[in-house]
C-alpha cells in the first residue's frame, strides 16, 4: 500500500476500477503464458465445455495486479497533492489462496476491488509491516471471476532502528533475502 503501514485501516475497501478483455488480448496473453486451446484458438475452443474462448485465469489476475498498482500510484499522488509524504510498499511474499470462478469471455468487463483484511508488523524484516488483503474480481453480470487472499509488505513510518537493526536491514537487501522473507 502506498500509504504508511500505520495509516491503513483494517476492512477498508479500495475500488480498483475495471478492464474490458478483448479476444485479441486474451489470445496474446494465452500464447505467451497459457497456450491451452480454449485460450488461444477460438475454433477449437468451441469443443471445450466453455463453448468458446476464455481468458487464462492468470491473465485476469495479472490485470488485477496492474489495477492495484495503478491505484497505489493514484493514492501516492493524492497524498502528495494534499502535502503528505506517501508510504512505501514492498514486494509480496505470496498468495494464500486464489479461486477462479466465472470464466472471462471476449468483451467481458471485470471490476476489481481490494480489501485490507488485517495487518501486523513483520517478524523477519525490521521496519516493515505485513498487509493481508483480499482482491475480488467481478464481471458485468455481478458474477465472481476470482477471489484471492494476498500478502504484501508496507513500510513503517514510526520506526527508529537500532544500529544492529540497521545492519539487519542492510543484510535484508542482499540476495539471500529469501530466507528473511519467510514469515
Amino acid at each position: 500500500m502506498t500509504r504508511w503501514f500505520e495509516d491503513i485501516t483494517e476492512n477498508e475497501t479500495f475500488p480498483l476500477g475495471d478492464y474490458t478483455f478483448t479476444e485479441a488480448e486474451i489470445i496474446r496473453f494465452g500464447k505467451l503464458y497459457d497456450p491451452q486451446y480454449f485460450h488461444i484458438d477460438p475454433d477449437k475452443a468451441k469443443f471445450s465445455h466453455f463453448g468458446g474462448p476464455i481468458a487464462s485465469g492468470w491473465h485476469t489476475v495479472c490485470v488485477g495486479h496492474r489495477k492495484m498498482v495503478d491505484a497505489l500510484f493514484a493514492e501516492e499522488e493524492r497524498l502528495r497533492v494534499i502535502g503528505q509524504e506517501p508510504g512505501v510498499s514492498g514486494p509480496s511474499p505470496g498468495v494464500n489462496s486464489m479461486v477462479f470462478k466465472a470464466p472471462v469471455r471476449p468483451s467481458d468487463t471485470v471490476t476489481y476491488e481490494m480489501i485490507v483484511t488485517s495487518k501486523r508488523r513483520s517478524n523477519s524484516i525490521p521496519g516493515w509491516g505485513l498487509l493481508f488483503y483480499r482482491l475480488n474480481a467481478t464481471n458485468q453480470h455481478g458474477d465472481m471471476v476470482y477471489s484471492a487472499e494476498i500478502v504484501g509488505f508496507s513500510k513503517l513510518r514510526d520506526y527508529k532502528p537500532t544500529p544492529l537493526q540497521k545492519l539487519t536491514i542492510w543484510a535484508a537487501q542482499l540476495p539471500v533475502i529469501g530466507k528473511l522473507l519467510r514469515r
Binding site: 469443443f47 496492474r66 529469501g178
Partner: protein, 164 residues
C-alpha cells in the same frame, strides 16, 4: 459428447498420484522483465536497475506474477497441453521464496499430489499439482499448489474414495 481436440490425450484415468513432471527451462532476460513489468507490474523496482538495487529485491528481478506465469507456461508445455485439461480451478500457498534476477534460468518439477472425482460433475476429475520452481543454482524461487480440472474418460464409472 467427445471432444475431438482432447480425445487422444491422457485423461483422469491415466494419471497417478506421485507422478513427477520435469519442466523445461526459461532464461529470464532484462528485456522480458521490463516488458512484463510495463504491462502488469510497473513498480520502479521491476523497471529500473538503480531503483531495483535500492529496493528489498537488491537488483532487477522479475515480477512475482511473471515468475508464476512463466511457471504455468512450462507446465502447459510439459503437461497441461498433453492431458484433457478442462481449465484451472485456482491455486493455494503461492510463495515467492527468492527473487528471480535478470539472467536467471528457471525450471523445476511439478508433482501430482492429489487426484479426485468431482461429485457434482461426474465428467470431471481434479488433479492437484505441487510446483517446485528453482533457479540455475538449484535454489527454490517459487512454490504453489494448483488445482486443475481434467476430463474423465468414463463418467459412468462409480465415484470412489475422496471425491470433491
Amino acid at each position: 459428447m467427445t471432444n475431438p481436440v482432447t480425445i487422444d490425450r491422457r485423461h483422469y484415468e491415466d494419471l497417478a498420484v506421485g507422478e513427477v513432471i520435469t519442466l523445461g527451462t526459461i532464461k529470464v532476460t532484462k528485456e522480458m522483465i521490463i516488458t512484463f513489468a510495463k504491462e502488469f507490474d510497473p513498480f520502479p523496482f521491476h523497471l529500473d536497475e538503480k531503483a531495483a538495487k535500492k529496493s528489498l529485491l537488491g537488483g532487477l528481478a522479475s515480477s512475482g506474477w511473471q515468475t508464476a506465469a512463466l511457471s504455468l507456461r512450462m507446465l502447459v508445455d510439459a503437461f497441461l497441453s498433453k492431458i484433457a485439461s478442462a481449465g484451472g480451478l485456482g491455486f493455494d500457498n503461492l510463495k515467492w521464496k527468492m527473487p528471480v534476477m535478470k539472467g536467471d534460468t528457471i525450471g523445476g518439477t511439478v508433482t501430482i499430489t492429489g487426484l479426485r472425482r468431482a461429485h457434482s460433475h461426474p465428467e470431471w476429475g481434479i488433479v492437484t499439482l505441487a510446483f517446485n520452481i528453482t533457479n540455475q543454482k538449484g535454489q527454490p524461487v517459487m512454490s504453489m499448489v494448483l488445482n486443475n480440472l481434467i476430463d474423465v474418460r468414463d463418467p459412468k464409472a462409480p465415484i470412489t474414495g475422496d471425491a470433491a
